[in-house]
């Protein structure tokens, strides 16, 4: 799996993602500068966490207009795998590759801690190796991860089975107490209709080594590797991103 890790001004989990892929998984990976426009050497593009452009105005609002995001949009529409982590998730939403928005945490505080995620869909490129209902332990680190979408959007996400992760208790119950940021329906991660684009607030790249507290994050990267050997089915219908893009 050839991975490109996008570096925007202000990105910081680029190095953590590179560490997970190169050192832990032994997979080839390269950094992709935000001014780049060619991604055809890549199987997977990661938009990592951080504070692109300082998260000034709105998280991801300015990064969304960089050349690389146009390229990522085209790459996604060609069926390439795209993983947006934390700030990357926010950027995918600003770019309309994924629906909804991420508001300030309900606590209005930044939160860095381990959380439990229930795998709601294991037919995305990033969850193939998970059992449905499986609970993953992965850290969050954000101040604005409070998922919001209007009723209609949320309903269609539920209907189309595009809610991939929900915050849950260690034994997999979806409760208010397990929700670290006030997200609607405890949503922690969603995918596009085709399942090749995933956005999530938690940081799988921080959960790839027992030494650092856990390795559940590896499942997602291993799933992607497997997905590439069994290409995903074509979109059932026009999913987001196919027409949406950069103004």
């Amino acid at each position: 799996m050839r991975t490109g890790i996008v570096v925007f001004p202000g990105t910081w989990s680029d190095r953590d993602c590179a560490h997970a892929l190169l050192e832990v998984l032994g997979q080839p990976a390269r950094y992709v500068d935000y001014r780049e426009t060619r991604l055809d050497d890549l199987d997977l593009v990661i938009l990592p966490g951080g504070f692109s452009y300082g998260d000034y105005l709105r998280c991801g609002a300015i990064a969304r207009f960089t050349p690389v995001v146009q390229a990522v949009t085209a790459f996604a529409n060609r069926g390439g795998l795209v993983l947006g982590i934390c700030n990357g998730f926010q950027i995918l939403q600003e770019a309309r590759l994924l629906p909804g928005a991420l508001l300030k945490n309900a606590s209005c505080e930044f939160r860095c801690e381990w959380v439990n995620l229930r795998v709601e869909q294991n037919d995305t490129a990033f969850t193939l190796d998970c059992r449905p209902g499986q609970v993953l332990r992965i850290p969050i680190s954000h101040g604005e991860g409070n998922f919001f979408a209007d009723r209609a959007t949320l309903d269609s996400l539920e209907r189309e089975g595009r809610i991939v992760f929900r915050y849950c208790t260690p034994d997999g119950r979806i409760t208010a107490g397990a929700n670290p940021n006030g997200s609607l329906a405890n949503v922690a991660g969603i995918s596009n209709a085709r399942g090749n684009v995933l956005g999530m607030m938690p940081h799988p790249e921080r959960a790839c080594e027992p030494l650092l507290g856990g390795e559940d994050g590896l499942m997602m990267f291993r799933s992607a590797i497997r997905a590439l050997s069994h290409p995903l089915p074509n979109p059932p219908h026009e999913g987001e991103g196919v027409t949406a893009g950069v103004a």
């Binding site: 452009y53 300082g54 000034y56 105005l57 609002a61 300015i62 207009f65």
Partner: protein, 92 residues
């Protein structure tokens, strides 16, 4: 019932990283005519208070104590009489 609009902005001499970054973003989008951007806060309050003068005095107090940080920010207030709250479905 009154609606108070409170406009909070950084004092002119204070560095405004957000404004600078937004201006750079606008330039990147081709809006060259923008010479300056200042980023501030826009707070809309609903007060259950019959008398406008009292309401305004209260909001000024709130701004001084909490809404604005007078060490680095200025604020401006506008009052309007209103009937109903803003948020639908108990948003706020």
């Amino acid at each position: 019932m009154y609606r108070a609009e409170v406009f909070v902005r950084l004092k002119p001499v204070v560095n405004d990283p957000a404004g600078l970054t937004i201006r750079a973003g606008l330039h990147a989008l081709g809006f060259e005519s923008v010479t300056e951007v200042r980023a501030g806060k826009y707070l809309v309050l609903t007060l259950n208070e019959p008398d406008e003068a009292t309401a305004r005095r209260q909001v000024e107090e709130m701004a001084r104590q909490l809404l604005a940080n007078e060490v680095i920010e200025d604020f401006r207030i506008e009052m309007h009489p209103v009937q109903d709250p803003i948020a639908v479905g108990g948003g706020a």
